[in-house]
């Protein structure tokens, strides 16, 4: 591939530069760059689900029906006291066990079920998850955990919508349901954006935890590529370079944060058009 580079570029790089270029574009490194997709997919779908669960949570917190309100409050306070890592490990495992339990009701013989003391309940209900399934579960877990954060942001934003607007909608004869969805939710975004931007930044940083769910994401690739190599057959011989690879990831995440901040500043400016500002 590298022979296709123009001569002026390969001359300018020199033999050392070309060797370095060959090293950082070898198959393993290309796989590393490609694994960024897991991070970005988890961040994107996690964020969409987080907004979805956030809306549900906020609607529950605002509900007129007390048990629903309690449910919303429990949901948002759970993340206060329990680390996100625990949820990230718990949800996929719980889902896997739930599916295996249902499979067991279907496939296992009654005497096997009765005798079962440990997991799996019988030999033929082992569900082996692949990366795709783990990715889906990771997105859902991220959505659930950060959905609780988003629920608080959205709850605050919903209560910040001027009462007059809602009263006007009621006066025009809109039923309560429509007032909520067509007026309160429509108008809350501009109040929710700064908070949602913070939730997004948290979620983005949490995508580094994907390797805990057996996904070969950028972190586990960095660990493999940086590990010391003493056999020339396996490629370039080098010592422990892991810190260099982690430094790259460190900078990568700072860049992502910077880009997100710029994007949200733009969105905020756009959403705030026509709004009265204090300054």
């Amino acid at each position: 591939m590298l022979e296709m580079l123009p001569h002026w570029l390969s001359d300018w790089l020199g033999p050392d530069g070309m060797a370095n270029l060959a090293y950082i574009t070898n198959g393993k490194h290309l796989s590393w760059y490609a694994s960024v997709r897991y991070t970005l997919i988890a961040a994107a779908f996690g964020a969409i689900l987080a907004v979805f669960f956030g809306l549900l949570g906020a609607a529950a917190k605002l509900s007129k029906f007390a048990p629903l309100r309690w449910l919303g409050d429990i949901y948002t306070t759970m993340v206060r006291g329990i680390p996100d890592v625990l949820f990230l490990l718990f949800f996929p495992l719980a889902f896997e066990q739930g599916v295996e339990y249902m499979m067991a009701q279907w496939y296992c013989k009654p005497d096997e079920l009765a005798a079962a003391t440990t997991w799996p309940l019988c030999a033929n209900v082992q569900w082996y998850l692949s990366t795709t399934e783990y990715m889906i579960l990771a997105c859902v877990s991220l959505g659930l955990v950060y959905g609780a954060f988003a629920a608080n942001v959205i709850y605050g934003a919903l209560t910040a919508v001027p009462k007059g607007q809602l009263e006007a909608a009621h006066a025009f004869g809109f039923p309560s349901r429509e007032v909520f969805w067509r007026f309160q939710v429509r108008q809350m975004w501009v109040y929710a954006l700064p908070g949602l931007s913070n939730v997004w930044l948290l979620l983005l940083k949490a995508t580094s935890l994907l390797s805990l769910l057996q996904i070969t994401d950028i972190v586990s690739w960095a660990d493999r590529l940086g590990a010391p190599n003493y056999s020339p057959v396996a490629g370039l011989v080098h010592g422990d370079w892991r810190w260099k690879y982690y430094l790259v990831l460190f900078i990568f995440y700072i860049l992502l944060t910077w880009l997100s901040e710029k994007f949200f500043a733009y969105l905020q400016a756009r959403a705030g058009r026509g709004m009265a500002r204090a300054n």
Partner: protein, 249 residues
């Protein structure tokens, strides 16, 4: 009586007591060192001198903009890479590559940045009148800091700082996901995962670990609320911290 103590959940709580001490150890070491670092960084970021404000600003941005998970990996592998050349000859490799040292170190560096941003925000909102009053009565810079800046900064930042400390406590779970476990020095999540791998009873072991996290978080809130009451006692109003998820970190 006998049956309560033999209940699996209670047995889990007993088993998880020692691991909980490891999480607490990381917290108790990180807070006293992280607090002064954060104050210095906040004052640096607030300074008019570019030579002070730029490095502080960059530091805070870098450590708030990247995941703690990566920071743990980075500092641990850096220390491992320095081990043959630097720590071994100095004879301190037993310390420098030990999770019980690197863990709190990285937590201090991280919480320093997060708390500095909180304190910086507080410095920005100190009532201007109090600073002007301090200057008007002819106070020196140090007197002004001691009487007008410091108490106000602490009072304004305290609720957010409490949230940060709770977050820091939750972050201690990441230490043993990035570093090796040495001789049974396991934290809550390690031990819970180990128990899970024995009998696959997910809900039992993870909820026992979660209960520890919840209870310790509530205790942190309680202690910090006592300090908050003391910081705001001159205001003559009842204030208290609310246990609610914050979304400013």
């Amino acid at each position: 009586m006998d049956s309560i103590f033999n209940a699996p959940f209670v047995q889990d709580l007993v088993t998880l007591f020692k691991p909980a001490l490891f999480n607490l150890y990381f917290l108790v070491l990180a807070v006293p060192f992280g607090f002064p670092l954060a104050v210095l960084l906040a004052l640096g970021k607030n300074s008019k001198n570019k030579l002070l404000s730029m490095p502080a600003r960059t530091y805070i941005y870098a450590f708030r903009g990247s995941p703690l998970f990566i920071q743990f990996f980075m500092f641990y592998s850096l220390s491992l890479a320095l081990n043959p050349g630097v720590w071994k000859p100095l004879g301190i490799s037993w310390l420098m590559i030990h999770p019980l040292f690197i863990g709190p170190l990285v937590l201090v560096l991280n919480t320093g940045a997060y708390a500095a941003e909180i304190f910086y925000g507080a410095l920005q909102t100190i009532p201007k009148g109090e600073l002007e009053a301090a200057r008007a009565v002819g106070m020196s810079k140090w007197q002004e800091f001691r009487t007008a800046v410091w108490p106000n900064m602490l009072r304004l930042a305290w609720p957010a700082y409490t949230n940060e400390v709770v977050f820091l406590f939750h972050s201690t779970t990441l230490v043993y996901f990035t570093m090796p476990v040495i001789n049974e020095q396991k934290d809550l999540l390690n031990k819970a995962s180990e128990l899970f791998e024995k009998d696959y009873n997910l809900f039992l072991h993870f909820s026992a670990a979660a209960l520890y996290f919840l209870v310790i978080s509530i205790v942190i809130f309680f202690l910090f609320n006592l300090i908050y009451k003391r910081l705001t006692r001159y205001l003559n109003v009842e204030v208290s911290l609310k246990i609610k998820p914050n979304y400013i970190r």
